[in-house]
Symmetry: C2
Subunit: 457 residues, 2 copies
């Protein structure tokens, strides 16, 4: 451990990137546009503005502008918790006995406990700039809702969060963090929206789903003057904001002349993976460099590895635009015993297109193996990782162990998106040996994907 590379590489404050990078500008095949579910035609700025903030729609639709200036107000806020450290996993390397060099970009050192804050503060800023009163959103595991409540408190915006009912009940702490930051948290489905009432009347015992909470949050935004809906993943704008992760990571690596061979990120809707890999992907798209990039998803929600590439709804209520993506079908809900996040049925259109075009690979991992990696990591690297992040840890360890077999000194970079302080029921079930894996059958997946609309095909 006497290497010249420090345990933690911190950029200086003035080295924090001041622009976000739009990987779409370097893509030859652009991601497919969002479609109006009624007309089947690409959605225009003015059609999206009733739902989303004006400036965010611009970012959503713009496939060409390569660099976006980060407004000063957002940069100020970033300085509260950024730059985030790029950590050399010396302790993990030693424990594994691997010749691989492992780095992780750690996004958990803020109260939201994850990278979600990077986009939350941007979205809240644009809402404030537009003179809005408030924003609505959904949250599953609670990281996004927490991040948005922090960002809203900072800009003095009203924040309304529809929280998937089972999380609302199982994660009272998450709920209280949001309330401490002044957010109004409603368990979803609820009686406050038409779509919520409809779902409740049809499925009175439902514990909710992310897709359903999205439908409710969108409806709430549309019904209240001065409100817009914001989303924490999947969208192009979110990936744009999250490129701060990859840009910082790359700057820190460049400082020490380190080039990763393998880049690994967990993938739910794609916000972390897209943000982490974008600058590296840009080099690949421009033909400058080659990296092996691996997206890791839960075996219980395997959009990339077992979904279909098609236009589909982003929400259960089918009121959102259609996006072309790898999807398991908008009615798909992962097994209740799936403990971590990454539960969304679809995937970012940018990442879907890149995956379709062969720019990276994807792996699905079982949750017991994920928690095994999480526990091993926690004990040697100190940080208790979020279940989501632990998907990336699992594959990073697997790749490092391959290096041990072959003797290759590969450099591995992975994204440690957050901490697991609010996921301890899941750890408890792992500690007690009661956690199990439940992988959807081919029939189950075929059943849900058969419901995908034919529009846009």
């Amino acid at each position: 451990m006497s290497s010249k590379i420090p345990y933690k590489i911190y950029l200086k404050e003035e080295e924090i990137p001041t622009q976000w990078y739009n990987v779409r500008a370097d893509m030859k095949v652009k991601p497919a546009p969002l479609l109006n579910p009624g007309t089947g035609q690409p959605l225009k700025q003015e059609e999206l503005e009733p739902i989303f903030c004006k400036d965010l729609v611009k970012q959503e639709l713009d496939n060409d502008t390569k660099w976006w200036d980060i407004p000063k107000e957002i940069l100020d806020f970033y300085k509260m918790y950024r730059p985030s450290p790029l950590v050399r996993a010396y302790f993990l390397e030693k424990a594994l006995g691997t010749p691989a060099k492992i780095y992780y970009k750690f996004e958990g050192n803020n109260t939201s406990g994850s990278h979600k804050l990077n986009s939350a503060i941007a979205q809240a800023y644009y809402a404030k700039k537009q003179g809005l009163k408030g924003i609505t959103t959904e949250t599953g595991a609670g990281q996004w809702g927490t991040a948005l409540s922090m960002a809203s408190a900072y800009f003095g915006l009203d924040c309304q969060v529809y929280m998937v009912k089972c999380s609302y009940e199982q994660k009272p702490f998450r709920r209280e963090v949001m309330r401490t930051y002044g957010a109004k948290v409603t368990p979803s489905p609820s009686n406050t929206t038409e779509v919520g009432r409809k779902i409740l009347s049809e499925h009175p015992d439902t514990t909710g789903s992310l897709g359903c909470a999205i439908s409710e949050a969108v409806e709430a935004a549309l019904k209240q003057p001065g409100y817009r809906y914001v989303l924490g993943s999947v969208l192009n704008q979110v990936l744009l904001h999250q490129t701060i992760i990859g840009l910082e990571a790359k700057a820190a690596l460049d400082k020490y002349d380190i080039t990763p061979d393998i880049i690994i990120g967990c993938a739910g809707g794609g916000s972390n993976l897209g943000g982490l890999i974008s600058p590296f992907m840009g080099e690949m798209l421009r033909g400058e460099k080659q990296y092996k990039i691996i997206a890791v998803e839960p075996a219980s929600c395997p959009s990339f590895t077992r979904g279909v590439f098609a236009y589909d709804f982003c929400d259960t209520g089918m009121i959102c635009p259609l996006a072309k993506m790898y999807t398991l079908g908008s009615q798909f809900i992962p097994s209740a015993n799936h403990a971590g996040g990454l539960r969304f049925h679809g995937m970012s259109t940018i990442l879907s297109q890149l995956y379709h075009d062969g720019y990276f690979e994807a792996r699905a991992v079982e949750q017991t193996k994920v928690f095994e990696a999480a526990t091993q990591f926690a004990r040697v690297e100190g940080t208790l990782p979020a279940p989501e992040s632990s998907h990336a840890i699992r594959v990073a360890i697997d790749e490092a162990l391959k290096c041990k077999e072959t003797g290759e000194e590969k450099t591995i970079l992975f994204g440690l998106t957050g901490t697991g302080y609010f996921d301890l029921y899941a750890y408890e079930s792992y500690n007690n040996g009661t956690m199990c894996d439940q992988i959807p059958s081919d029939e189950t997946i075929a059943g849900y994907t058969s419901l995908i609309p034919k529009i846009g095909k």
Copy 2:
């Protein structure tokens, strides 16, 4: 916010202090020695060794060695989560509209969520060095137990934690973090010790106390060959390890030629306060500088402000050595509605002597005011603070508001010991408006202090 002082001052890895500073070496009046409760005589190295690790007893008893080298193994571990940031509270200053400059040393960026890890890793190291099998301890709010379980996992030691029963039940997440790090967690009082069985037979409905858990942990260490007891606060050795906080803070301030006027720390047993102020106190003791230092304690457990300075037991079971300290009596237990930590009836002998000699002042604050400050801080500075740390925030805000009145540009430094992610039931009670203050009456305190033994007076 265009100052040249960055939002966060990080020392470089090679600037992490490599020695701990023993403030006792600069004290003219040394802290009173620990006494054998049987003989009333000062305890010697050999009498303490059956309870504590050998090297730690040396550190405990040595009032003269000013600097202690930090062993390389501990420094390596420190690099996992240190240096900790010294944060300029620009956002808080702006929200308060104060001309004061506020800095805080943030110790919460590690999974234990607090500064406790600084001493836990040291104590675990010395236990390992001595060839022990394991260590026992108690934990109240759970920060110390978590820190020790992390440190024990790192060195492969068995870790047995007696957790105050009400915390064990109310904080299942804390328990699960410890289990994830491999610790064995037992609710106290328990049937596993004589003292536990005695307390249970006398008070079958007790929800436990820190003093009682200490008694059980000590008994467990004495009964098992190859085990010793470790403690997370109060002791001289703990304050020695925690000086890393103050040394780093001072080094970071010195880098930018900043001299604090006021230094504020919360005080339970004194580990954080002692660690933070030691290097500054050293300058005062040597007559080099003057600082205004403020210890902040809960109004519901006011050792400094309403206790007596006397020899007393550190534990409810009265099996531990006697320490001369500000104490409310070893049978004192703060009101059950007291939400934060800082529940110990006594106080570090070092700090007690310094306070007695007039080197700093103390203030007791009510918990509703503490949570008001915590919420205000969280919303502008992002970090959700631990209730303990929030005692210091309360007084930092009060002092900054005084500066606003007088127009003085004072520089305030306070210790932000940790995060409140595991204290959300307390935040919930504050958010719901059901939190109240319960301050012990003079009669109550007199009742408990009258039970303090006459030995050593």
